[in-house]
Symmetry: C2
Subunit: 493 residues, 2 copies
Amino acid sequence: MTSFRQFGWASWMGEAAGFGQRIVASIRQRIEAGLDGPGAALPSTRALAAEWGVSRTTVTAAYEQLIAEGYLEVRQGSRARVAAGLARGTGGRVAQPSAAGGARLSAFGRRLAALPPAPAPGVDGLVADFRYGEVSARDFPKLAWRKAVTAALLRPPAILRYGDAAGSPALRQALQGYLWRARGLRCSAGQVIIVNGSQQGIDLAARLLLDPGDGVVMEEPGYALARQVFEALGASVIPVPVDAEGLRTAGLPPARLAYTTPSHQFPLGGVLSAARRRELLAWAARVDARVIEDDYDSEYRYDIAPVPPLQAMDEPIGDQGGRVIYLGTASKTLSPTLRLGWLVVPPGLVEAFARAKRLADRHAPWLEQEALAALIEGGAYERHIRRARRLNGERRAALLAALSRHFGDSVVVEGAEAGLHVVVWLLDVTPDQEAALVKAARAAGVGVHPVTPLHATGVPGRVGLVMGYAGVEVAAIERGVEVLAGILRGWRG
Amino acid sequence: MTSFRQFGWASWMGEAAGFGQRIVASIRQRIEAGLDGPGAALPSTRALAAEWGVSRTTVTAAYEQLIAEGYLEVRQGSRARVAAGLARGTGGRVAQPSAAGGARLSAFGRRLAALPPAPAPGVDGLVADFRYGEVSARDFPKLAWRKAVTAALLRPPAILRYGDAAGSPALRQALQGYLWRARGLRCSAGQVIIVNGSQQGIDLAARLLLDPGDGVVMEEPGYALARQVFEALGASVIPVPVDAEGLRTAGLPPARLAYTTPSHQFPLGGVLSAARRRELLAWAARVDARVIEDDYDSEYRYDIAPVPPLQAMDEPIGDQGGRVIYLGTASKTLSPTLRLGWLVVPPGLVEAFARAKRLADRHAPWLEQEALAALIEGGAYERHIRRARRLNGERRAALLAALSRHFGDSVVVEGAEAGLHVVVWLLDVTPDQEAALVKAARAAGVGVHPVTPLHATGVPGRVGLVMGYAGVEVAAIERGVEVLAGILRGWRG
């Protein structure tokens, strides 16, 4: 034990540059904040290592320290658990945590501090970074956008004043039409709320609907930043497994909210079947829950018919509207740097969302809203989407071909029918090799990003990579896959 | 009683178009949410009428209805109070409130629904709207901004990816220099957090620092949208009177946070004296509180020496920094439509704010950040501020001259040394005439905005107008004051 521990500490100091201490602080804070009660099982060292992007040795050392401090205990051969004698906020042998370095924070702030840190930002100059959420600047409709921006700047209002919290009337009207044409989504312009990207839509919905302790159904695996919003608010995340038909809706437990990606499950890519859509909406009506439909990449479909949104099946309750809060974004069609997204909320929630948006930041910036409205009204937005779909179709084809050429039967590709990423299961790689693979790939200039941290609990018994391709050009895709294959070939001897 | 009540209802239906019902719903929700416990006094009808912008008759009718429903009770000659027998969440004769129209909301959502609605937005075509927070588009540095925006659009990064949650490195660096040159504020670029306007800065700070029930010291009168943020989070707002030297800091009660405008108290214009600054910081250290310094309009000073920020007097606690969270904005220097603001936070809070910003909306939009950074680095921002200061100095002089010419000794002007508004106390107008004056002025094409709704409790025993002038041109200022004077002359006969 001692020698292992010494090894752990050595590794920590050398390799992980302070990450081990942050893991210790984070777990302490989760326990202090009451997020993990006595007896709660901690994630496996593998899962936590993946989530933080460190080696398992670092995590093991952190667990050892917390055992020494009395926060955790472990029985022979089983997972580490929160010490049974540990009540919330106890003093005694439990040292006071220095939440966020000594500053007294709210419960929200302490829960936030206990979440894993943001991943290191992407850098230029790699052979290929298959990072989901990035978009190539080559696809961006530069000329149309510059024209729209310049036109807006040339005709400013006479008085510069705060705008409508729900968004620019022109953009709300334009999106109402676009959503009907592109998605068969019927709503009034008044139901459209402009937000700073889908992240703000999730945050506002969570603040308006969730109290600490409320249950939230989340797809497992699922979108980590949504999960973090719910956890930071003190909600209780209920992970529900997904399969090829999306979220498994049979026997959902009562909850206040469900977060779903019905058109293209993130990350595994399943499309929620019609039967499950009906089951999900019936569940929401039965337990009085709302459903967030994050339609984050439905613009990208290849060789398959469009899937109508869940929102279109939602039955209105009187004049209050239904249970679905629809969420769209320009991050995948134009750029994540714009920070533009939109909610379509039931009529009974419009006022609440507008008020929450006003207190959060008054309203979205005027310029981007005007420019996007002009782009949509002039037809350039939909022309651009057709072009981006073609370009991303070429990237997708290149990725699938390269995977087939270099990996053959040693990989299984999932969720390739739609969106801007695929999940690649590496059949020849064992879970304990995952961290080393990520590290070796990065050293060779290739960014790969495992499925593992998208799991709330447990980890898959296999190694999968979420391979985003919208930010990588065809030649780099081919080169990146080749490099990755070379690394694995080298491992096998 | 009956006849009065009938009059009230008639007025409600005719004049207030649903406002009465919203007031009823709002008070019901406050009581249901436990914000006002049994025995709590309600605001006077005058204060509530001012807050909602309706006639006192409408408020009286709303109170009557709530008395009939058993929510309120009133003893001879005294204020309406929450009924003594009314416990939180009781059923019985208390009808279930339809929070936000039937939707089940979180405690945050219910508190939000109980706040006064946003004021009606400004409209074009008035003779003059002395609305605080508006800025003339004529002052905007159109050419420099268009050049900066176009330059940014012409050199986008190769990969469009999510940016740093704390903001663009270029803008944080530029602001660090600007704040030092313009405000004598010393910080590292790493302490600067870019937010979507100061409203988001207040919201993030409140979320990170306040739990429901925590005390927040607020200037009284003070900035209503800050107060609403704190109330929506369930904090307990402690109104502390201000005078010509700003917040009265003697004997401040314990609290977690103080929200202050030390350079130019909003709305009354006092400058927090050096002694009070020391007292405020000593209080914060004693009770372990943080202080938000909202430096919302310090760029505008006329004939007085610059006042260094409170932040500059803040003593660091070890390497964690001090207690002041500094807040600046481009809303007054460039435009409120940009939604750009910045926090300077103590080093120990940088990580917490960056995490909160990331979960709230990832980061501020790229384009505005790049353009402002270029504007500052190229010197155009400070040149523009000098020009805007001169133009607003002309507006201010025109307003003061017109007030003197048309009102003479019947007004007292307060807070004219700095900023973009003055407070005008109308000595000849009695509090019960306030609502009628606002209405008559509006009918004559002049927007005036009383001090009253900026009070959390009680109201001043006199009538004051917050007269913003940055969005009004000199000729319109003169005409607007003349129209206002004419109305009052007509009243006196």
